[in-house]
């Protein structure tokens, strides 16, 4: 019987998982857009994004547009690979759980 995979703890948090999934479909996303889509607070979202950035799964760009600050997040290749691995692991675990 094959050994069941471990789930990546960085991605496993619900908000971090939601953010990475959102970014996988978006080219780049503003902080405010991520906040609206996830329904989270500024503080919580900022903290989770910092963890994803620290893990190298997202990059952040700050700029000014029409004199207003804008913070943009983009998923990295490492983030994409990690999410893909997480989904594969989840499928295996789900298959195992369904089989029980």
């Amino acid at each position: 019987m094959p050994e069941l995979p471990e789930l990546n703890p960085v991605i496993h948090g619900k908000l971090r998982l939601a953010v990475l999934s959102l970014l996988s479909g978006a080219e780049e996303a503003e902080f405010t857009w991520l906040r609206a889509k996830t329904g989270s607070t500024d503080g919580n979202l900022g903290a989770q994004l910092a963890k994803l950035e620290e893990a190298g799964y997202v990059t952040v760009t700050k700029r000014f547009v029409q004199r207003k600050p804008q913070t943009l997040y983009r998923m990295t290749e490492a983030g994409r690979a990690a999410l893909s691995e997480y989904v594969q692991a989840l499928k295996m675990l789900l298959g195992d759980a369904m089989g029980e």
């Binding site: 069941l4 471990e6 789930l7 703890p9 496993h12 619900k14 998982l17 939601a18 953010v19 999934s21 959102l22 970014l23 996988s24 479909g25 978006a26 080219e27 780049e28 996303a29 503003e30 857009w33 906040r35 609206a36 889509k37 996830t38 329904g39 547009v65 029409q66 804008q70 999410l83 989904v87 989840l90 499928k91 675990l93 789900l94 759980a97 369904m98 029980e100």
Partner: protein
């Protein structure tokens, strides 16, 4: 961590990923204004081109001002689209779908801006082929965009453009011009206004939700 997860937890994570990926792919860009802008640009070009010619007929291209009217109006519309699009795009979240749709329209738009001036300057452009080519290209762009966005209404526009392209090959120059005008009104002005209203409703919904 694995031990703590029940089958229900795993399913919830999976559902969360699917929902968020779908949300992330949803286009946030506004396109309605582009349809209206180009619809108005075509109408301005036709009116300017036909000015003083007395009838629409062959004057869609052979009017007293058509040598100037079409190139000036089309390049002005292209410049306006670029400037307004860049200004609006800076404050929007870019999605893969948005980029795909923009690519389809940019490709078709550049093809038109290259081919029609060349045909015009070489003296080989006439009403039937002009309407058929423009309508076929706009049909292709609308169909590509509709298939990416899975939007039946826009696919309907593509069918209207393709039908206009085929029908324009028959009948008189005046009839071809009328077909072009009708297609511009339905697929640019009406569809553009409908799209703008839909986008406004969606924006209000998202603001309320946020």
């Amino acid at each position: 961590m694995r031990e703590e997860m029940s089958g229900q937890d795993l399913k919830e994570r999976f559902a969360l990923i699917e929902t968020m990926i779908a949300e992330g792919r949803r286009s946030t860009e506004s396109w309605g204004w582009v349809f209206v802008l180009w619809g108005v640009a075509y109408l301005v070009a036709i009116a300017w081109s036909s000015w003083g010619a007395g009838q629409l007929g062959g004057s869609l291209l052979s009017g007293t001002h058509s040598d100037v009217a079409w190139p000036v109006t089309m390049f002005a519309a292209a410049a306006l689209t670029l400037v307004i699009g860049l200004r609006r795009g800076r404050r929007k979240t870019g999605t893969l779908l948005g980029r795909a749709v923009t690519s389809v329209w940019a490709g078709i738009g550049i093809s038109m801006l290259v081919v029609f001036p060349a045909l015009g300057f070489s003296g080989r452009l006439e009403v039937h082929s002009f309407v058929a080519l423009v309508a076929a290209m706009l049909g292709a762009a609308n169909a590509g965009s509709a298939l990416i966005l899975r939007w039946k209404m826009q696919l309907g526009c593509a069918v209207v453009w393709w039908a206009a392209a085929a029908v324009a090959c028959f009948g008189t120059a005046g009839q071809a011009s009328m077909i072009f005008l009708a297609a511009v009104f339905v697929c640019q002005i009406v569809f553009g206004v409908y799209t703008m209203m839909r986008e406004a409703r969606r924006a209000r919904g998202e603001v309320a939700h946020a």
